[in-house]
């Protein structure tokens, strides 16, 4: 027992030494690096980080956590924060980071020219990397496409007990609610939420994929999901998930009007970034054509770089009109949206 313990301790020490050695080397050779705080943890991102390291010789150090926790961490670290880049999976959190004074404006022709203006911050504090649309997945056999029209229509009586959507704690729902609030006003948004709660087939639970599975299981007819989850289900390792993905069709709401609600995952340069130049290079790399291809093809997201075509599956769904409401407004209205959810009894 003692020997084993000693052995294990030695092993542990070896590892910690190895790590500190790495650190020492860094400071001696002035090795270039960029410290990334990210909420994205997809395999494709790992691949991209490695590509960037190979191309530039700049080491990418990553901390993965929820954006909320990362923002909290950055604000507590203040001027000494090691963070160079913050990556989140929605614009709302980036806007929050901006309003907490954690990001800085960046001037980069590449970024400004490549990214459409509604997908980035007006003051260049953050930039969208990939797009996802929040759409309706409906049961092919029970719903006719002609019955579907807008997000607002989800409140209508005909969907009573038919609607599947996850909890209001989820940021994608919060952003959708914020967009409805901005377009229709608070009063109407609240009524909408109340009616949607009435129409729910079950109390909100699970994630987006679970809503689709519930449609296939017959618990309801419509599920509200982000596009890339459908892509992932159709390419899942689990044959049952693939089957579930095939049982539903996608509908992009509000095509006649303002367009379908979209969100971005995006990145901003930290206010006190110790490696600002590298941080800019890093974000520029992420929107380069080769990087955007990887985003698009392995994760089924829509590229922000219009020179890159989306994955074949996404092309199959067809082009759609997107809501061009500047995404900053979603962040500004996020808190109010959550409070409306609570008042409407949306769990």
């Amino acid at each position: 027992m003692k020997k084993t313990l000693v052995g294990l301790l030695a092993l542990t020490l070896m590892f910690s030494c190895k790590n500190s050695e790495e650190k020492n080397k860094t400071s001696e050779n002035e090795k270039q690096e960029v410290n990334v705080y990210t909420h994205r943890h997809y395999e494709s991102d790992q691949e991209l980080f490695e590509m960037f390291e190979e191309q530039t010789g700049i080491t990418v150090n990553v901390i993965n956590a929820n954006a909320d926790e990362l923002i909290q961490k950055m604000s507590m670290e203040g001027e000494q924060s090691p963070a160079d880049v913050l990556i989140t999976v929605d614009a709302g959190r980036l806007e929050r980071a901006k309003s907490s004074d954690l990001l800085q404006a960046v001037s980069s022709e590449i970024l400004e020219e490549t990214i459409p203006s509604h997908l980035k911050d007006a003051d260049n504090h953050w930039f969208g990397l990939t797009k996802r649309a929040r759409v309706i997945a409906y049961a092919k056999d029970r719903v006719d496409e002609s019955e579907l029209s807008t997000y607002e229509d989800l409140a209508s009586d005909k969907w009573n007990d038919k609607l599947l959507i996850r909890s209001s704690g989820n940021i994608y729902n919060q952003s959708l609610m914020a967009s409805i609030m901005v377009h229709n006003g608070e009063e109407e948004a609240k009524e909408w939420a109340e009616a949607v709660v009435e129409n729910m087939a079950r109390a909100p639970k699970g994630n987006d994929r679970d809503q689709v599975k519930a449609v296939v299981a017959g618990e309801g007819d419509l599920a509200i999901v982000n596009t890339y989850y459908i892509g992932k289900m159709l390419n899942s390792e689990d044959p049952e998930e693939v089957k579930a993905g095939e049982e539903v069709k996608l509908f992009f709401p509000n095509q006649e009007g303002r367009g379908t609600h979209i969100n971005v995952s995006g990145a901003g340069v930290a206010k006190y970034a110790p490696n600002k130049e590298n941080a800019i290079k890093f974000i520029e790399f992420l929107i380069s054509e080769e990087a955007q291809k990887i985003f698009a093809h392995s994760n089924y997201e829509y590229p922000v770089n219009e020179a890159v075509t989306p994955a074949a599956l996404l092309q199959e769904w067809g082009e759609f009109k997107e809501d061009t409401l500047n995404l900053s407004t979603l962040g500004e209205n996020n808190k109010k949206a959550v409070m409306l959810f609570d008042e409407a009894g949306w769990k």
Binding site: T12, Q72, G169, K347
Partner: protein, 553 residues
């Protein structure tokens, strides 16, 4: 009036004098450790003074009733389930001989090796559309009945089967090592098996059982992942909502304070009931000798004990293994082995540090002569009641203040540019784990320490041997099992820990739990199976160690 006043002053003076007389370095050391461990809690408490955020009343109006209702539902339902499973199995394996008893004895601890949110995901995978249950039934040509477990009943079930081993471990220790003589006596007096269990064993084992139960309840109140996935609003999901969705840390801290209040009430309740029944010295002792039964009865016992093992271990692990097969190619590589070793190393260091703190805290308090010190020492275990994410913030407040001061001083006084001393290093992480898991180490050590009668160490001290030497020579060998169980329990908890690790972990270091979470939070639950299985595998080894040790004794 005047007289009364002066007598008041007199009594305060005499009290102060007594305090001065009794104050020794042990009480000071105890206070120092408590302060060190409670620092993050204090940092959060200071935040309370800033008042609640403006959304506090919004929250009270719309959500608080739901939080309280669900949290209390979980407290009661989980207590009920955990007591039946934990105490029942402990009694059966300690008192009776039946097939595969030895194997079951350690299998019963294994559910602890699976993070409860992973159990939740696994069970959702079993009962899901296209889930394992449906596949099996389809294969058997049976009709599929959908069982929805994603609700508060399902949550109570999932939390109970993954946490009951806390009660099992603590009550089995009592049944095995302390109940023997009494049982023999009661059998000789012709008392039946049932009666001697309910009238004699249960009341005597209460402190041990409750100690385990308190740990379970704290974990239940602390759960975030499972409750969030099953769509059940609890205090902890509320804390996250207030902090992150409503953007008001002040309100989150108020919710945490309410939660801490509930936990405090539970701890006081436990202390109060412990006072009523004191089990020390040789009142209860002796190993239990196992009874044999008839063959059918033995098999019945075997099946009874097997049920929680199947529910808590084999079903979730089976589901994970199935997923692991589907995703192995994608997920498994050499990095994974490195990752496991890192996790293992961090957990080992932390468990040793935490157990050292717990032991020092218990014995310093014992050696101090001030009565109040012991109650104060229990404050040190409060960290367990606070959600990991909140502990992380609590750690960052004081350590960042120090780090910033350090950087500035080094810069202005010595002109040296330095980095953070604590933040983003293993030191802060291990500190945070120790704060969070001190209770896990404290309880088993304390309950074995209580069993050591004071007379031996007292005589040793009377012979002029110092406290430390007495401890090392006499008490340490006697409480070795308690200390080792503490090391193992903390080890497993650290291995599973998530929210705190996410916030405080250094660059370059990753843990299995973080890896599993990364997958699960991207709705790649299947891909989370392999890191989860590695956690389970790594945690299983020490469990078997522990059991071997107990058998040897």
């Amino acid at each position: 009036m005047k007289q009364a006043g002066s007598s008041d002053i007199f009594s305060i003076k005499s009290r102060l004098r007594r305090l001065k007389r009794d104050t020794n370095r042990w009480s000071i050391f105890t206070l120092a450790i408590v302060l060190f461990i409670a620092l993050p809690v204090i940092a959060i408490a200071v935040k309370l003074l800033e008042g609640p955020g403006e959304t506090w009343w919004h929250l009270v109006d719309n959500l608080l009733a739901d939080y309280i209702g669900n949290s209390f539902f979980l407290i009661f339902t989980c207590s009920f389930l955990v007591l039946i499973m934990g105490v029942g199995t402990a009694w059966l394996v300690a008192r009776f001989e039946f097939p595969f008893r030895k194997q079951l004895e350690w299998l019963l601890i294994l559910p602890l090796a699976i993070p409860s949110y992973i159990v939740a995901y696994a069970y959702a995978g079993v009962f899901d559309y296209g889930g394992s249950l449906e596949l099996i039934l389809r294969w058997l040509n049976l009709e599929f009945v959908r069982i929805d477990i994603m609700n508060k009943f399902g949550l109570a079930f999932v939390l109970s089967i993954s946490l009951f081993p806390y009660v099992y471990v603590s009550s089995r220790a009592f049944f095995l090592n302390q109940a023997g003589n009494l049982l023999e006596a009661s059998t000789m007096l012709g008392v039946g098996e049932f009666k001697s269990f309910f009238r004699l064993m249960l009341p005597l084992a209460r402190p041990a059982i409750i100690a385990g139960l308190i740990l379970v309840l704290m974990e239940v109140l602390n759960d975030y992942g499972a409750a969030q996935y099953f769509g059940v609003n609890t205090f902890t999901t509320g804390i996250f909502r207030a902090w992150f969705s409503l953007e008001e840390p002040e309100t989150a801290v108020y919710l945490s304070a309410l939660l801490i209040f509930i936990v405090f009430a539970l701890i006081l309740f436990e202390k109060w009931q412990r006072k009523n029944i004191q089990v020390t010295g040789n009142k209860a002792s002796g190993r239990t000798h196992r009874k044999m039964g008839t063959k059918p009865m033995e098999w019945l016992k075997f099946f009874l004990v097997l049920i929680p093992v199947i529910l808590g271990f084999f079903i979730p692990v089976g589901q994970l293994i199935y997923w692991a097969f589907l995703t192995a190619e994608k997920v498994f590589d050499l990095d994974f082995i490195m990752l496991s070793l890192q996790s293992f190393g961090i957990a080992l260091i932390t468990s040793l540090v935490t157990v050292l703190f717990a032991t020092l805290l218990i014995y310093f308090a014992k050696w101090s002569s001030i009565n109040g010190i012991k109650s104060i020492s229990r404050l040190g275990i409060l960290g367990y009641a606070i959600p990991g994410a909140v502990v992380a913030i609590g750690i960052m407040i004081p350590t960042l203040a120090f780090d910033k001061w350090f950087i500035n001083t080094m810069d202005t006084v010595f002109g040296v540019k330095t980095g953070f001393l604590f933040n983003g290093t293993l030191v802060a992480l291990v500190y945070a784990y120790s704060v969070r898991f001190l209770a896990v180490a404290y309880n088993p050590i304390e309950s074995t320490a209580l069993k050591v009668s004071n007379s031996i160490p007292d005589s040793s001290k009377m012979l002029g041997v110092g406290n430390f030497k007495t401890f090392l020579k006499i008490e340490f060998p006697l409480i070795k099992t308690g200390i080792l169980s503490a090391v193992i329990l903390v080890f497993i908890d650290v291995l599973k820990e998530l929210p705190l690790t996410l916030i405080l972990k250094p660059f370059h270091i990753n843990t299995l739990a973080v890896k599993a979470f990364e997958y699960a939070s991207d709705e790649m639950v299947m891909e989370a199976a392999i890191p989860s299985l590695f956690i389970i595998f790594t945690a299983t080894i020490p469990v078997i160690f522990l059991n071997k040790l107990l058998i040897k004794e």
